[in-house]
Structure formats: C-alpha cells, structure tokens
C-alpha cells in the first residue's frame, strides 16, 4: 500500500497551493465580506486547466483522476471555502454528469466550454419542499412535440446566477417514482428561466446560492441528458463523486484552520510563554492534526477506489460525513485557540468555522449520510 502521492499529483498540488497562497488567500475575506463571486479567479483556473480536472482530454479536460481532483479541491478549501464550493459544484455537479451521461453532441456543446473554463456549471436537484427527500420533487417536464416544457422551482442552487448551463432534475413520469425523473440541460438564457433569489448565508457568501424559477421553459429534445427516467440513477452516481469532493474541500477547510491555529499557538504569548506550551492548547492542536489525517486518508481512499471503478457509496459517504464534522470541529477549535482575535474577521478561523458548517448540510446532510451508510451496512 503506497501512501505517497504520485509525482504528477504532488506537483499539481504544490502548484495549486502556490497559486492559492498568492492569488486567493489575500482576497478570501474581502470576497466574503462583499458577497462577490470572483469571476477572474475562475478565468485563471481555466488557464491552468483546473476547470475540468477529471474530464478526459478529448473533451478539453485535464484528463486527471478523482485523486487529483480531490487534491485540488482540498487546496482551494485551505484558503477559500466559497471558491472551493463553487469549484466543486461546477466540476462534480455541473460538468461531470454531461461527461458521463451526455451524447457526443452534448459533450461538445455543453461540457467542453465548462472544462475549458469558459463557462460555469450548476446542478439543480433541491426544491423548496424537497431537500433530503430529493426524489419527491414538484418540478415537471411535459413533452410537447419535439420539446419539453419545464415548470418548477429549485432551491439553493450553487452558481445558478453565474452559470452557462444548469442541469435541472424534473419529473417526466409522475407515476414512475424514482424511474420518472429526468435531467435536462437548461441554458439560463432560455425564456422562462429566472434567478429569483441569491441567498445571504452564514458563510460561503462568495459562492452564489440561488433560488431559480422555471416558468414554462421550453427546451428541445436534445437537452435531455441520457434517457427519460435516468435522472435518479444519474443523481446517485453524481453524488458519489460529489461527496468525495465535499470531503476534500472539508479536509482543506480543516487544514487551513489548523495551520492558522498552529501558527498562532507558537506566536501568541501569555503568562510569559507561547500558548502552545500549555497542555490545553497543545492538545487542541494535536487533535486537529489527528482528525485531519483521518479525513484526508478517508478522502484519498474514496477517490482512489472511485478511480479504480469500485462502488464507493459507503466510503464516499463515510469520507464526507467524517471530513465535514472534522472541518467544523477543527475550525471551532481554531477560533478558540485564537481567543478574542479568533472571533474577529481579521483572522481566518471564523471564516473556516462558518464555511465548514455547510459541509455537514450540502450534498446530503450528515443525517442522510448516516442513512446511506446504514443502508450499506444492511441496517
């Protein structure tokens, strides 16, 4: 068993880290305060081939694997949860389903611009009255001639107001249950598509979270992704990959918070010595290290198994569940280590703390991860 990253992966991680430290860390708090989606950062990601890491080269991706993608997501989380969230929503949710389930024409028309970083992706499953119970959706797509007409409301859709394509889950056959759900590629320029709300949130405010309304949106047949009725199976596969990226992002948040805490514990002096010399503070920092190691191992294991083509339902759920809790715990302790300064926006831990909380909610709450793993264990 080899725990060393391949050279290529290590170089990519180091380069992304260098970029993040120079270009993102200095603006991370500012974009949060201004609730500003940093378009130019994503343009630069495009130039660095980061916008389609796991997409194959023939579709303008970087041709990397999920381990590589997880490393990138972790590095982004280490400096900015918001940029990280918009990035993974673009990649795992907006781009990869088209790569996995699209026709050659759909890949060329919709996936390739996303992979090149010329466009942002989004994915719309959640609705106002259907969250954890995601298949119980109200959005309907009616066939009319060679078009579909989509009506409904989608809630909490990351990137919807900056996206060039949104994958919208809709019911095409109300009597068929899970088998009655289909996915449509919707262009925000399509008539009847409207972003009705961009939410103010506890954190991650540089990543837009939108409510969208689809009011008689007409799309041609060739916007159906896969076959009618494939929507739910696609969703499960998409979330398996998505959870790995949320786990990686969480690991990054924890890492960022830990580094801040460790640095502060060595610099800050009270009672005549660095606070890290007090057992209570040292133990907090040690526990951060312990937990992050665990989160990263699980994440890398899930990514590696995903790359090997194995079923990762259990392991990706475990990774997401554990890493997101760890991110919140580590970030909370990082605030504590910083004392009063930790409670101010001049220091990063509060941002990690606020950002980390979402990781226990998005792409399936922790309760739902328990449900998924429980089912896998036969309970």
């Amino acid at each position: 068993m080899d725990f060393d990253l391949p050279n290529e992966h290590r170089m990519i991680r180091d380069t992304v880290r260098e970029f993040c430290e120079a270009e993102i860390a200095p603006i991370a708090q500012e974009i949060e305060d201004e609730h500003r989606f940093p378009e130019s950062v994503f343009e630069e990601f495009g130039q660095l081939d980061l916008m389609g890491v796991p997409a194959p080269e023939e579709h303008d991706g970087a041709g990397g694997d999920y381990l590589m993608y997880a490393l990138v997501a972790e590095e982004l989380g280490r400096v900015s949860g918001a940029i990280g969230l918009s990035y993974v929503a673009h990649t795992s949710l907006g781009l990869m389903p088209i790569v996995m389930f699209g026709t050659a024409e759909q890949k060329e028309r919709w996936a390739e611009p996303l992979a090149r970083g010329e466009a942002m992706g989004a994915w719309a499953l959640t609705e106002p009255s259907s969250g954890s119970d995601a298949s119980d959706m109200d959005t309907m797509a009616r066939k009319e001639g060679d078009e579909y007409v989509i009506d409904g409301t989608k809630q909490f859709i990351t990137n919807a107001n900056v996206a060039n394509s949104v994958l919208v889950k809709s019911v095409t056959d109300p009597d068929a249950g899970y088998g009655g759900i289909s996915t449509f590629i919707v262009d925000p320029d399509d008539d009847g598509f409207e972003v009705v709300e961009v939410w103010d949130k506890m954190g991650l405010n540089a990543s837009p979270t939108c409510e969208i309304k689809l009011d008689g949106v007409r799309v041609p047949e060739d916007r159906l992704l896969g076959d009618e009725g494939d929507g739910w199976t696609q969703t499960k596969k998409t979330l398996n990959g998505g959870r790995i990226s949320i786990a990686a992002l969480s690991t990054g948040l924890a890492q960022g918070a830990y580094e801040a805490a460790k640095g502060y514990a060595t610099e800050r002096e009270q009672f005549g010595r660095p606070i890290g010399k007090f057992d209570a503070v040292r133990d907090m920092v040690v526990d951060m290290d312990r937990k992050i190691e665990r989160a990263r191992l699980l994440t890398h294991k899930a990514a590696t198994q995903y790359d090997a083509g194995e079923d990762v339902t259990r392991i990706s759920s475990l990774a997401k569940l554990d890493a997101s809790e760890i991110a919140r715990e580590v970030a909370e302790d990082a605030v504590q280590v910083h004392g009063g300064y930790g409670y101010t926006t001049d220091f990063a831990p509060q941002r990690f703390y606020r950002d980390a909380k979402l990781m226990e909610i998005g792409e399936g709450t922790s309760e739902i991860q328990h449900l998924v793993v429980g089912r896998e264990l036969g309970l």
């Binding site: 170089m11 660095l48 080269e57």
Partner: protein
C-alpha cells in the same frame, strides 16, 4: 532556421524561519527545495521566446542530485522542451561547488548542445554567488550581458537587445551578439504557473542525466581554491517596522518616518 535556448536551472534550498546548523550546513530538516526564483524568470523568458518564434527549442540544464528532478520537471511543465541534469559521485562528495567549477561543468554542456542563447538567473537564492552566468560566458567565449531586465531577441541575426540594470538606478541599453549568455533579473516578465496539462506532459519530456565522464570531464573539475570553513548565524541588528493598512495610510506613515529619521527633508 531553428533556435536553441539553454536555460540554467538550479534547485535552491529555502530555509525555515527557525533552523539549526549542523556542521557546515543548515540541518536538512529545516530545508525545502524549490526552483531558484531568478531561474524561474529565465525559464519564462525562454518559453515566451519559443512561443513567439517558430522552431525554438528550450533546453534546461541543472547541476544537481536526483532530488532536483522535481524542480526540473516544474521548468518542463512551464514549457521547456527537454532537460539535462549533470551529477556524479564526485560532485556529491565535493560539497560546495564554486562559480568556476559550475562554469566548467556548464561549459561542457554548452559545448555539446551548441545553443544560440544561454539564459541564466542573475544569482541563486541560496549561494548568491551571482557569478556563474558571467563565468560561463567567459569560459565558453560567448558575449554576455548581466542583470538583464528587458530583452528583445532577434533570432535571425542572433542579436539580443537588452536593458541592463546597473547600480544606483542607472540602466544600460545595449545589443549583444550571439551566441551569448544573458543573466536574467527578476521582474523581466511575470512567470506563469504551470498548467495541469503542462505538469502532466512534463512527466513524459526527456530528462537526460550526464556524469562527468559523459561530458568528457574528470574529477579534477571539482578542485577548488574555495573552501567552506564554517557556517554560523550572524548577529542581526536593527528593527523592521511594518505598517499595515491601505497604501494611502502606509505611505503617510512611511513619509513621516523618513522625515523623522532625517532620510528626507521637509
């Protein structure tokens, strides 16, 4: 007509804030290795020339142990076409290589590669001899220009119109006929980040390793009049004042400070 640019690339040691000295060196535990900052600019300059011209080959040359291959691959990822690494037990045993030794080693590579242009960094961030590039030019009989912060290269004529940074804020504009060695100053361009695809392709680009024998050299090349006799941390004196805030505020504070210290009048 094809052009070949040889770029010297060094892997330099970067020292942690806190470190210990062990023997004649800083303890390895406190060192991290990275591409020399000046060489990063030299690589970028060469890659930009290769992107602007047709049929330009960029070859990097490194004196360094196997560990340095990661740094070399980074230069390849940023767009160099292939790499040469020179290493040998004799070099490993020699410890410190002085500028003359390095020039001798690099000269052997220049003689076998026959480049039209050699770009080096002005200096290396660790040893800071700042002499290798010019010593190399002298050794191979090339024209040279040191501390170049602007370059306009005419590949057909093999002439480099350069701007050189001299002391006291004076700059010199001059033409250098090739084959030439230019030592590149930071700021001449904006080094790129390697792209993911660049990094992936770099793993497959040629990286040839040469021992002294392969270059027609023998161990005497490492004989040096320079000996490293001790390593110590100098006492540091003086304080640094750091102002934080907007450029407006900090400029005011700096101005006040300079006036108070009598650096400027008024």
């Amino acid at each position: 007509m094809s052009t070949k640019i040889l770029v010297t690339v060094k892997e330099v040691a970067e020292v942690d804030d806190e470190f210990e000295i062990s023997g004649l060196d800083i303890d390895d535990r406190y060192l991290e290795y990275d591409l020399n900052e000046w060489d990063d600019y030299a690589v970028e300059e060469a890659v930009q020339l290769s992107e602007a011209g047709d049929d330009v080959e960029v070859v990097t040359v490194t004196l360094g142990p196997e560990r340095s291959e990661e740094t070399i691959r980074m230069a390849l990822a940023k767009g160099a076409d292939r790499a040469v690494r020179v290493w040998d037990d004799a070099l490993a045993d020699a410890g410190l290589l002085d500028a003359t030794t390095k020039a001798d080693l690099l000269a052997a590579v220049v003689e076998s590669e026959e480049p039209d242009l050699v770009l080096t960094g002005v200096q290396a961030a660790d040893d800071s001899f700042g002499a290798t590039g010019v010593a190399l030019a002298e050794r191979v009989g090339f024209e040279w220009a040191a501390v170049v912060n602007d370059l306009d290269y005419d590949a057909d004529a093999n002439v480099s119109s350069v701007r050189r940074e001299l002391e006291g804020g004076v700059e010199e504009l001059t033409d250098v006929e090739g084959p030439a060695v230019l030592t590149i100053q930071t700021g001449i361009n904006e080094p790129r980040y390697a792209s993911l695809r660049g990094i992936r392709q770099a793993q497959r680009k040629p990286l040839d390793v040469h021992a002294l024998d392969d270059l027609g050299l023998d161990e005497s090349v490492v004989d040096s009049p320079v000996d490293l006799t001790s390593m110590y941390e100098p006492e540091s004196e003086g304080d640094a004042v750091v102002w934080e805030g907007s450029p407006d505020e900090t400029a005011d504070e700096l101005a006040t400070f300079l006036r108070e210290q009598g650096v400027v009048e008024g």
